[in-house]
């Protein structure tokens, strides 16, 4: 295909004989009709994609690349809860590398656009890069199309990115995101909050029962949520339930960090509702919630 960028027209829609042959800024002008940022980056600057520079290291012998050998930090417990006005997603603040705490105040919940958020468990470095790309993907679509992607579109794009990481996942660098979003096209706020989970092959699973958790402490968090959470609850109660589930996860899972009253490190909690969109709850609000829970547990350690 002859490259004639000055005359936008049908000839530019045809298949590219040599993908990647258009370099520099000209590629941006030639990629007509493409609304996906990750597709555009894959065609023009593939080295920027998280999955593309995955490990060509030998798979046998002394240089075997594994998360343990490399000391790669891991993120741990994320919970998401649907409630009567939307959805809440929360995560603890600990990252571990083997038996060492790699970071005490890592943030594993990310606002990805005005009405969605993603929590990440697994290899922190790859996961954070994936969420960064995903956030640009949503914003890029919104700017080019003039409207936001549908909620199911957002969930599917994330599934595609997790699938793209399968090669690395096979070597142990697993990333498992948890998606929470508010469907602005759903008239009933009690049904508009949505939770979507993924497996490392990119499988996408909608959670209709109102709560889910991922990460090493998720078993304990889910048991806690099963007993405490009701989808008819309001925002205040739901935030408390989310923090309590993280407390229970930290109680029994070494890789999940509990609230740190000494350093004033609280879980990250994001609420997503129709009128306010995705909002990170303030430090002061969480301090009050955490202090109340700790006081209650001092009386009854089982909660």
């Amino acid at each position: 295909m002859e490259f004639r960028e000055g005359i936008p027209g049908p000839r530019q829609f045809g298949p590219e004989p040599q993908p990647g042959s258009q370099l520099g800024h000209r590629a941006a002008f030639a990629a007509l009709g493409e609304t996906s940022f990750s597709n555009y980056v894959a065609a023009t600057q593939p080295h920027l994609l998280p999955a593309a520079r995955m490990f060509d290291a030998p798979r046998t012998g002394a240089s075997h690349a594994s998360p343990e050998a490399l000391g790669v930090p891991h993120g741990t417990t994320i919970v998401a809860l649907q409630f009567n006005e939307g959805v809440v997603i929360a995560g603890d603040r600990r990252a571990t590398a083997g038996n060492v705490i790699a970071q005490r105040d890592i943030e594993k919940i990310f606002l990805t656009d005005s009405h969605s958020a993603v929590g990440i468990a697994g290899s922190a470095g790859i996961a954070i890069e994936m969420v960064r790309l995903y956030t640009v993907e949503l914003e890029h679509y919104e700017k080019i199309e003039g409207v936001q992607m549908s909620l199911d579109g957002k969930a599917n794009r994330l599934a595609g990115m997790v699938r793209g990481n399968l090669g690395a996942a096979m070597q142990g660098f697993v990333v498992v995101p948890l998606f929470a979003g508010y469907d602005v096209e759903e008239p009933d706020p009690a049904k508009a909050g949505r939770i979507v989970t993924y497996d490392p092959t990119g499988g996408r699973y909608d959670e209709w029962l109102g709560y889910h958790a991922v990460g090493s402490g998720s078993v304990f968090a889910k048991s806690s949520l099963k007993k405490l959470h009701r989808t008819t609850n309001d925002l205040t109660t739901t935030i408390r339930t989310a923090v309590e589930a993280l407390y229970d996860a930290a109680d029994d899972d070494t890789a999940t960090g509990g609230p740190d009253l000494v350093r004033k490190i609280w879980p990250v909690v994001v609420s997503i509702t129709g009128p306010e969109g995705a909002v990170r709850r303030s430090e002061d609000e969480l301090a009050a919630v955490v202090e109340q829970i700790v006081a209650d547990r001092a009386e009854n350690p089982g909660g």
């Binding site: 800024h25 000209r26 941006a28 940022f37 980056v41 700017k143 080019i144």
Partner: protein
Amino acid sequence: MTMPFYSSVDQLLRDRSELARKGISRGRSVVVMSFAGGVLFVAENHSSALNKVSEIYDRIGFAAVGRYNEFEGLRTAGIRLADSRGFSYDRRDVTSRWLANTYAQFIGAAFVEQQKPYEAEICLAEVGETQEHDQLYRITYDGSITDEPGYVVMGGSTEPISAKLKDVVDPAHDLAAALATALESLQVPGAAPGNGTSEARVLGESALEVAVLDRGRPGRAFRRITGPVLRGILPAANRGETADEPEVRGGDDVAAGSTE
């Protein structure tokens, strides 16, 4: 032996300029101006779906006049370039100066190399921390780039609009006052597309596309002003319906190469 057809470079470029200038001047106008609260975009646009004004990045907006399919390609390219740079560097490294230069390089190359130049003119605006850091770049069909202080008028009959705006513009205006001055200029006699009427017009809500880069808003500063919010800040005279405008044809309504 046949002689190859010869035309001088000078003549070729003059022809292309004329084509582009004619195409752009047939369209409806856009005003971009810096005001106290940020940067205001006001476009005369009777379509609610095909935008002339758009968000590019956190602090950068885009306005264009001319042929829609051409400037739409420029707009999406700008978003791609900005997002790529922001992703591989940092969001702060995406600047309007860099992007305007890239546009100018590209449009300038197309003007020289291609048979048909872009029949489009664009304005790239960046809202600064303070008003003196606001930047407005105008890039014309031949890749010329100018850094305009205060305001830019593009498309249609720019002279009467610029002449009026120069008298009424005040950087200290708030949003409503800035919008009023922009409308006052767009409505001056002689500014109607195609120089059809010499009477002053009234542009109502349905004929306007209004957006701002809001200085006070963190992160993505661009926001469209539509519906009740727009009605609330329009001057009283503009709150009614737009008068019918028979025979008004914008630059994008006529076929390429048309001589009408």
